[in-house]
Subunit: 118 residues, 2 copies
C-alpha cells in the first residue's frame, strides 16, 4: 500500500500511477470530495471529461464538478439548479424593490419641484 | 424494432421495457436530451439516481439533471456553476447600486428638511 495514493486511487483501491489524472485535484486528506464526484458522475466519466480539457483548466473544472456533485447529493431532485432558481427569485425581488424605490424617488422629486415652484 | 421506444432505449439500442425508468421523461422526439445526460452522467448513474427518488419527483430531477448536463457540454470547465457565479456578480452589482441609491435618497432628504426648516 502506498500511503501517498491520492483520494481517488485510495477510493478505487488501486495503485496511484505517477501520471494519475486525479492526483493533482484529489489530495488524500479529503476523501469525501472524490466519493461525492464518483457517486454522481462515476470515476470513468470524470476522467474522460478531464482528459478532454487543457491541463490549466482542470483544477477549476474539478471544483465546479465537485460543487455540482455536492449539491446533487444534498438535493437529489434539484441539485445546484435549485441554487440558480433561488438566486433568480432573489434578483426578481431586488429588481422589484429597485423599481419601487425609483418610482418613490420620482414622486418625491415631483413633489419637491412643485413645492419650490410655489 | 419498436418505433415507440423512448429516446434513451433508442440511444442505448435496446428494447424499451414496459416499466422503462427513462421512457416517461425521454420522449423519442427529443434524442439530444438523453444524449447529453448520458455523456455527462452515464445512463447507469442516471437510472440509479432516479430509482432512489419518489416517482412524483423524478420529472423535475430529470429536468435539473438535463439542464446541468447541457451546461456542462456547453461549458466543460464551469458548467452551470458559471451561471451561479454570473448571478452572484449581478446580485452584488445590484446591491451596490441599491446602497448608492439609498444613500442618495438620504442625502436628498437631509437637504430637503434643511430647506423646509429655513
Amino acid at each position: 500500500m502506498n500511503p501517498k495514493r491520492c483520494a481517488a486511487c485510495k477510493y478505487l483501491r488501486r495503485r496511484c500511477p505517477k501520471d494519475c489524472i486525479f492526483s493533482p485535484y484529489f489530495p488524500p486528506n479529503d476523501p469525501d470530495k472524490f466519493a461525492c464526484i464518483h457517486r454522481i458522475y462515476g470515476a470513468g466519466n470524470v476522467s474522460k471529461m478531464l482528459q478532454q480539457l487543457p491541463v490549466q483548466t482542470r483544477a477549476e473544472a474539478v471544483e465546479s464538478l465537485s460543487f455540482e456533485a455536492k449539491c446533487r447529493v444534498e438535493d437529489p431532485v434539484y441539485g445546484c439548479v435549485g441554487i440558480i432558481s433561488l438566486l433568480q427569485t432573489q434578483i426578481r425581488k431586488t429588481q422589484t424593490l429597485l423599481a419601487k424605490t425609483q418610482a418613490e424617488i420620482a414622486v418625491a422629486q415631483t413633489k419637491h419641484s412643485q413645492h419650490t415652484n410655489l
